[in-house]
Symmetry: D2
Subunit: 139 residues, 4 copies
């Protein structure tokens, strides 16, 4: 079974709020950083270009379950894996851990889209990337 | 049937990203603003105090489905209603619209918790607030 | 003497940090919101278009002196005036007040620039706007 | 002459705005990250505790001159040095570079303050830290 991609991060001060913990919206920024780090590792950029122009990965659905707070200075891990791969879409699964504790579990569904004037249009995930992502599916 | 609470907002420049649209994480900040505006309208503060100390509303689960992008300068509405009311928890439902278009639909589950050293502990939603929120449940 | 433009704002929860106050970087977002509100009131958009393409207002210098903190829920005012008007540049002066207290004083120097591939190029402030801004110079 | 402390950073997607570049307010978050990394390297925490309670470093003045934009994915350096050391205050100087290009130069004046109810009160910079910071003054 493939191992998830592990992204290591420290909680910076601006990530916190007046409740003394990381604001719940910031977890989605952490996830995006981890996703982009994974794409870089796979030699893909999140803002890519092919012979037909630019394409990128708008999000169509996200969710997060929070189990335990993160605080300023905490060093934690975000494990990214692929939960599902469609023709145009990738469902990433995220698991946040701080030492032995699960902090949060989450999902982002991103759709590969041609950018341009007007609404983004879904296009197939480029095959070289699809192949690598397929190898990261955790059943 | 009760009407949802409507929060009006303009997209500020810092809400956007290099894709030219509002970053998906920012929708959660918009939701929180709308939730807090609703609580103020119901005469409650999100950081409240009773004879036993401070209590607040950590989030345990959130999700959002994105249907259409928001851009700099757009003026949109966030409609908040109560989807479910538990002993300690409130599930808020959010619907973003820009003119006639549905932009996003989302949910936040918040749990009423006593704050202090260590982990927040769930406490019952204060009855006066529970009564008002019950009146906002949309079936 | 011309009156500054007054922008009214409430501190939202995401604006705060674990020190329980508004993060110092957020004051610059408040300033930008006030500047954009002023431009709208003068019938100009911050991302404008003329027959030669798009132009906007990159910042070349900013500063802020902080006198007193802002906290969650505070409702404060940002007064914007024009400190200096150059051929391509506008120096905005900002003054934050909470009830009678001065919270912060700040400046942003923005330069009117043609956008496009490569580095933004300064262009003269469009005369209709320059005229209005000249009327807001506070000596 | 002492070398500045160098902090390496990548531009994340949420740091950008619809102009396609890093939002000017985000530079202050980068500076704070660099300052905190320096304090950690000197074995100090930005939220410290002594026998009289908690103390920290509210900012009283900041400024930044922007020379060139940063874009998504750029990997840049922030060099931190000490420009001035007062009894209670530290003036940090920051220099952002991307490969050979100077991106921005900036300053933050932070004041060592006892926290608690009411306004923060300045206290002397703890001597062990003052000594280390004195060694970083660049004339």
């Amino acid at each position: 079974m493939p191992a998830p991609y592990r992204h290591h991060r420290r909680v910076e001060f601006r990530d916190t709020d007046a409740a003394g913990i990381v604001h719940f919206s910031v977890f989605f920024n952490y996830m995006e950083e981890a996703e982009h780090a994974l794409l870089r590792k796979l030699d893909f950029s999140v803002l890519a270009q092919d012979e037909n122009g630019a394409f990128s990965w708008p999000r169509v659905a996200v969710k997060c379950d929070y189990r335990s707070p993160l605080r300023f200075g905490d060093e934690f891990d975000v494990d990214v894996s692929v939960a599902k791969l469609g023709r145009s879409s990738v469902t990433y699964a995220f698991r946040f851990t701080l030492r032995e504790t699960v902090i949060a579990e989450a999902e982002i569904v991103a759709v590969c889209c041609r950018l341009g004037a007007g609404r983004p249009t879904p296009i197939p995930v480029p095959e070289p990337l699809a192949e690598k992502l397929r190898g990261m599916i955790i059943k």
